[in-house]
Symmetry: C2
Subunit: 275 residues, 2 copies
């Protein structure tokens, strides 16, 4: 998008931006749904941007992908065997699920081009789609939720921001449909934005989840290339939500300390959720 003198900048507002010096712009394509750009940056390796916002970089994608996958996995009473991913067209979440030994993964991505771009530029992530345990379908996640009759132990909503095609993934209707697709004791988790810059997205995801599920908790992680560096996830279940994992194999970010600490929220985040 904005490539001025070899800098790619993500505008967090009209008045604030993070800029990466890039050695090359590898791709810029407008799909039916969004604009996709791939840059080669000096500090973060290759970077995927959708509609001008950083989706992932090679150097720090591990934080987001571990936290949206390993964290809920270790809250499940029994290891989840069947998982659904809504979004996640880069393959990062599917890859984490495979590493955890999940046996069956259905991955619903709306934009085929995201998958194709990631297969080419981020093969370490998108190669997960080659695994026969992963059923990748190019389909609207919201429609899939209404039409499918399958049930899942773990549903992961790995979406873009609540503007554009992902907007419906933060709403009440979607959460009602999610609930019908969960096995007894199943867990759903969704990325819910930066509490600092997108308190409304967090509030919307949390309110929707809370209206539908008996238990919802918000947890956070530090992601250096996302706005403010501080990111939220909202996890829900009709079962009790408490860490049940033992024998935790740490990732590069996630470990048993993070399992305890990530849901301990700063006061300003508690205020967002309670207001």
């Amino acid at each position: 998008m904005k490539l001025i003198e070899n800098w790619f900048s993500e505008r967090y507002s009209e008045n604030l931006q993070l800029s990466f010096r890039v050695s090359d712009q590898l791709l810029s394509v407008k799909t039916d749904y969004q604009r996709i750009d791939v840059f080669d940056t000096y500090d973060f390796g290759k970077l995927l941007s959708i509609d001008g916002t950083v989706q992932l970089t090679e150097k720090d994608e591990f934080v987001y992908h571990e936290m949206i996958t390993m964290f809920p996995y270790y809250y499940a009473e029994r290891p989840p065997r069947k998982a659904l991913v809504i979004g996640g067209g880069d393959g990062g979440v599917a890859g984490q699920l495979l590493s955890l030994g999940v046996e069956s993964i259905t991955n619903i991505e709306i934009d085929n081009q995201v998958v194709e771009v990631c297969k080419k530029y981020f093969p370490d992530l998108a190669d997960s789609f080659r695994d026969p345990k992963v059923d990748l379908r190019i389909e609207d996640g919201i429609k899939y939720m209404k039409s499918s009759r399958e049930k899942f132990d773990l549903i992961i909503v790995d979406s873009t921001d609540p503007e554009g095609p992902a907007e419906g993934l933060f709403g009440l209707d979607f959460y009602r449909d999610v609930k019908e697709k969960l096995s007894p004791g199943g867990i759903v988790v969704a990325q819910s934005g930066s509490p600092f810059y997108q308190p409304k997205a967090l509030k919307m995801a949390y309110n929707s989840a809370r209206s539908v599920f008996r238990n919802s908790i918000v947890y956070t992680a530090f992601i250096p290339t996302y706005p403010s560096g501080f990111w939220s996830f909202t996890m829900s279940s009709d079962d009790k939500l408490e860490p049940r994992g033992t024998n935790i194999e740490p990732g590069k970010y996630f470990n048993s300390s993070i399992l305890k600490g990530a849901p301990e929220l700063p006061e300003f985040v508690k205020k967002i959720l309670s207001e």
Copy 2:
């Protein structure tokens, strides 16, 4: 410093920068120790920069100042009555200590100009120096530690990065001197940089602390205007380090959840500390 078309940019490396749109540059002065700039930004209110790095903004200073003050305060067995601040020329730490009811605060700042600039542009912080409980001295913190005979219940090292005048504040000699100035059961805490961009600063502070004190822990906080948004603090004592506070009055960031969660470190931070 770098003010291009009304943007102030902090370079995190040659290849990465965060930029704030500013309505005005209020001050730029070179002192005996460093360059001080004050900008009026659109999103974060007034911003203080030293040698091109953001020290504080009106909008998010509360995170840093609460976390370097309230957090160790609630680890003390008895409420600290006598505190020493090394650095902290903006008055933010002294202000937090006053709010907590600390009776006697000695604040050693090397650069008088920092104090004068903050009195003018950040009076909400620097007004703490008007309180008779605060003894502000313009002096080299390292020399003060060698010469003073006083003892303190809590020592807070609120320094700039370990380049320039603050370098010695991360070293072993300094920590040895700190130990001699602590009352029995006393606690010392220091900012120790971004684990993501400054792992060496963190490692240095932690190693120095650990060589001298029986117990040291690292805890983190999310600070949107600091590099990577993720910041570390290193806290040490010869006494046991565990939360002892009850009746915790939350701040805007700090609360009893953060008291539990902030020392739960991501795996890559544990690696930095153990390698």
